[in-house]
């Protein structure tokens, strides 16, 4: 080889290594607190507490399974500039969050740093496994079921931890964060009454889910979880498990199957056809433009509408 290809190589390396003039980073103009969250729902809660004092970005998209997100370098870059980093915790994002956070080289957001927020820290956890834990039980979370944001009352400790972190990195506006949080909680109280009254006719209704992600929601609104399409957490449905599940669904007269849009349709549709139940698509994250209240509104709407359609509630 090949003078030309070596020169080309040198040129390529040069082009790739050129790092541009210094000082382009918008550090000086940046007054807002930069917050990166793993999930859209956490970004909504940060926005609720921080208002226009925060510039918040979520890593996962609303339609993505939070268990399976790739630790893309662009996320590492976002985390490297963050003042505050909020994760759901309880090992939900264990497959990617450590790479993003540690890869960011940002000391402020490492465990124990002022900007590190494990949003699960003060949540009352459900589904904490007892007895021996190993992977023969599937993708079981040792700290409990991590889908806790689906109980609206868990927004109380969540926003407290967020307000605390924002006050830590921006003490000047602690009063503002506190006021905004109090207003949020007042609105939460008001909305909660509405959601509870809408869900009241469904009290005790048996439902089936695809994954064990609706435990907190079901518990808060009095739905009874009869089973999941997954035989064990994270393990795809098998014909024998589905056969047993369908028998149980018929015996209990289950009318609703709750599933996230990121799961396949084939098995839920099959079970629905065989048992006469309906599939309710429930995103477990707020969609673009939805705040936390609109998100819970939409969950309640979908469940109530489907139940009415199935003749469960009037």
């Amino acid at each position: 080889m090949h003078r030309i290809s070596r020169i080309t190589l040198a040129a390529l390396t040069l082009a790739a290594a050129w790092v541009g003039p210094p000082g382009l980073a918008p550090a000086l103009a940046q007054e807002k607190i930069r917050v990166v969250t793993t999930l859209p729902v956490l970004a909504d809660l940060v926005q609720a507490v921080g208002g226009d004092r925060v510039d918040v970005t979520a890593i996962a998209t609303p339609l993505q399974d939070p268990h399976f997100v790739d630790a893309k370098p662009s996320y590492i870059l976002a985390a490297s500039r963050a003042d505050v980093f909020v994760l759901a915790g309880m090992d939900l994002e264990v497959g990617w969050e450590p790479l993003v956070r540690e890869g960011s080289r940002n000391a402020a957001i490492q465990i124990g740093g002022p900007g590190y927020v494990d949003a699960s820290a003060h949540v009352r956890k459900l589904g904490v496994p007892t007895g021996r834990i190993d992977r023969s039980r599937g993708d079981v979370h040792p700290y409990g079921n991590p889908h806790y944001w689906l109980d609206p009352l868990n927004a109380v400790p969540l926003t407290a931890d967020i307000a605390l972190a924002l006050s830590r990195v921006d003490p000047r506006n602690a009063g503002l964060y506190n006021d905004r949080r109090q207003r949020f909680l007042a609105e939460l109280d008001r909305r909660m009454a509405g959601w509870k009254s809408r869900m009241a006719p469904l009290e005790g209704m048996p439902v089936v889910t695809y994954h064990e992600s609706w435990e907190y929601f079901a518990r808060r609104f009095g739905l009874e979880l009869v089973g999941a399409l997954e035989p064990k957490p994270g393990i795809p449905p098998s014909p024998s498990h589905l056969a047993q599940l369908m028998d149980r669904m018929k015996a209990r007269d289950v009318k609703l199957i709750l599933k996230e849009p990121y799961y396949e349709d084939k098995n839920p549709d099959l079970v629905a056809r065989e048992t006469g139940a309906r599939v309710v698509e429930l995103p477990n994250q707020p969609q673009a433009g939805q705040d936390y209240f609109a998100f819970v509104d939409s969950l309640v709407d979908r469940v109530v509408t489907a139940a009415r359609g199935a003749g469960v509630a009037r």
Binding site: L9, T13, G20, G175
Partner: protein
């Protein structure tokens, strides 16, 4: 050093040094010098608000009515490091003759033990020990300094070198059943690794992710006989014996130097393009010959995975080319591979690799390729069937069917994207 090498060195080192200087200068500025006095429009002090929030969080049962009793965690938190094991088991299903080492048909190619965890708030440690039939090998063992300023990170110890993309992955976790021919011929069966110091910087001066890495390391540890000879050579030098050609001396400059630039661009929420360029120079000892050898590499990886269907659909297109250059005319050898992978469903993948390399010790080109079907019962277990073929132009012809399983026990740290 020839002119091209100097050019490339300058091209890589100068911008890196500039960036470091700039970044360090920026790091001198206080990070978050925010005013700690409470805003004028609130009567409660920041400290009082924090104390109240802490009080609220400290007593979860009093937070709201309807509270369930708090459940204690599952006891998973402990000070032990994460310990994991990956087994790499092969069965040679080739119809004619056994192609595995020692004519075996069944082989535990490797048991890889990983011990990983935080040392303290400033360092983490990652160690990977490979257990083979002929002993234990430290595959990697390095400390990572996490608390450096200015987006810098450093590693000290033994590690896979950041030359290209594939080389950073351990063999049992490769997308393919083994390293590409070019890696095996240029660096060794288990890739390109060495012991030394690794420093890297990340940033986005061009608006997308860039990572610059510089490594100073001992040398090429690919072949065992190479290591022994390097050692013998050093001994001979210390004893005052003369050696012909360029020698592996005690000077720092005689060791391995490597630079890598990684560029990662999100083309859409589903698609990502990674472009990298690598350069390394080291004394290579092979049988009687030893010479300063330089390596140049480019790597391209395109990944596609629609977020909503991330569990069911994905694709990878990947290629690397590597040039190996020794002083003297006609001593540049080249090699490369292309790999494509398509996810058929939640558990099924198919992949294909095309390979070519000009082996350093032989004239001619070695060509090969493999087709793979992979089945993942879960992310922790994998069964693969690989058909591999090598062109008989030089070396031995290979036409084989390999069944491979890899199983991962324990909390193995996820791999970089």
């Amino acid at each position: 050093m020839n002119r091209t090498m100097i050019m490339v060195t300058v091209a890589v080192v100068v911008p890196f040094a500039t960036t470091l200087t700039t970044a360090l200068a920026q790091a001198q500025e206080p990070v978050a010098p925010r005013d700690t006095t409470a805003a004028a429009d609130t009567t409660e002090s920041a400290e009082a608000i924090e104390a109240r929030l802490l009080g609220e969080l400290g007593a979860p049962d009093s937070v709201r009515p309807g509270a369930e009793a708090p459940v204690q965690g599952g006891g998973a938190g402990s000070l032990n490091p994460d310990i994991s094991l990956i087994s790499d088991f092969l069965v040679d299903l080739s119809p004619d003759e056994a192609t595995l080492e020692n004519g075996e048909r069944y082989q535990v190619r490797e048991l890889e033990i990983g011990v990983q965890g935080a040392v303290d708030p400033y360092f983490r440690y990652d160690a990977f020990l490979g257990l083979h039939a002929d002993g234990i090998e430290v595959e990697e063992g390095y400390v990572t300094a996490l608390a450096l300023p200015a987006s810098l990170q450093a590693k000290l110890g033994k590690f896979h070198l950041p030359f290209g993309k594939v080389n950073l992955t351990h063999r049992p976790e490769l997308q393919m059943f083994d390293y590409p021919l070019v890696h095996r011929e240029f660096f060794g069966e288990e890739g390109f690794s060495s012991t030394g110091v690794w420093g890297s910087w990340i940033g986005a001066p061009l608006g997308f992710y860039q990572e610059l890495t510089l490594v100073g390391a001992e040398g090429i540890e690919a072949e065992e006989h190479g290591e022994e000879e390097a050692h013998a050579l050093r001994q001979a030098q210390n004893d005052g014996e003369e050696s012909h050609g360029e020698s592996l001396g005690d000077d720092l400059g005689d060791r391995l130097w490597l630079a890598h630039v990684k560029n990662s661009i999100d083309l859409s929420p589903a698609a990502n393009l990674e472009l990298g360029a690598s350069w390394a120079t080291a004394i290579v000892v092979e049988e009687e010959a030893r010479a300063r050898t330089s390596f140049y590499g480019v790597d391209v990886t395109y990944r596609w995975k629609p977020p909503q269907f991330a569990k069911y659909q994905s694709a990878i297109l990947q290629a690397e080319a590597i040039w190996r250059s020794e002083p003297g005319p006609g001593e540049t050898k080249a090699g490369g591979f292309g790999y494509a992978q398509w996810q058929l469903g939640r558990r099924w993948y198919v992949g294909a690799r095309g390979d070519w390399v000009e082996p350093p010790e032989e004239e001619g080109t070695l060509k090969g390729g493999q087709l793979l079907v992979k089945w993942f019962p879960t992310e922790f277990s994998q069964l693969r069937l690989a058909y591999e073929r090598q062109d008989p132009e030089i070396g031995e012809a290979l036409d084989r069917l390999i069944f491979q399983t890899t199983f991962a026990l324990g909390p193995h740290r996820p791999h970089a994207f």
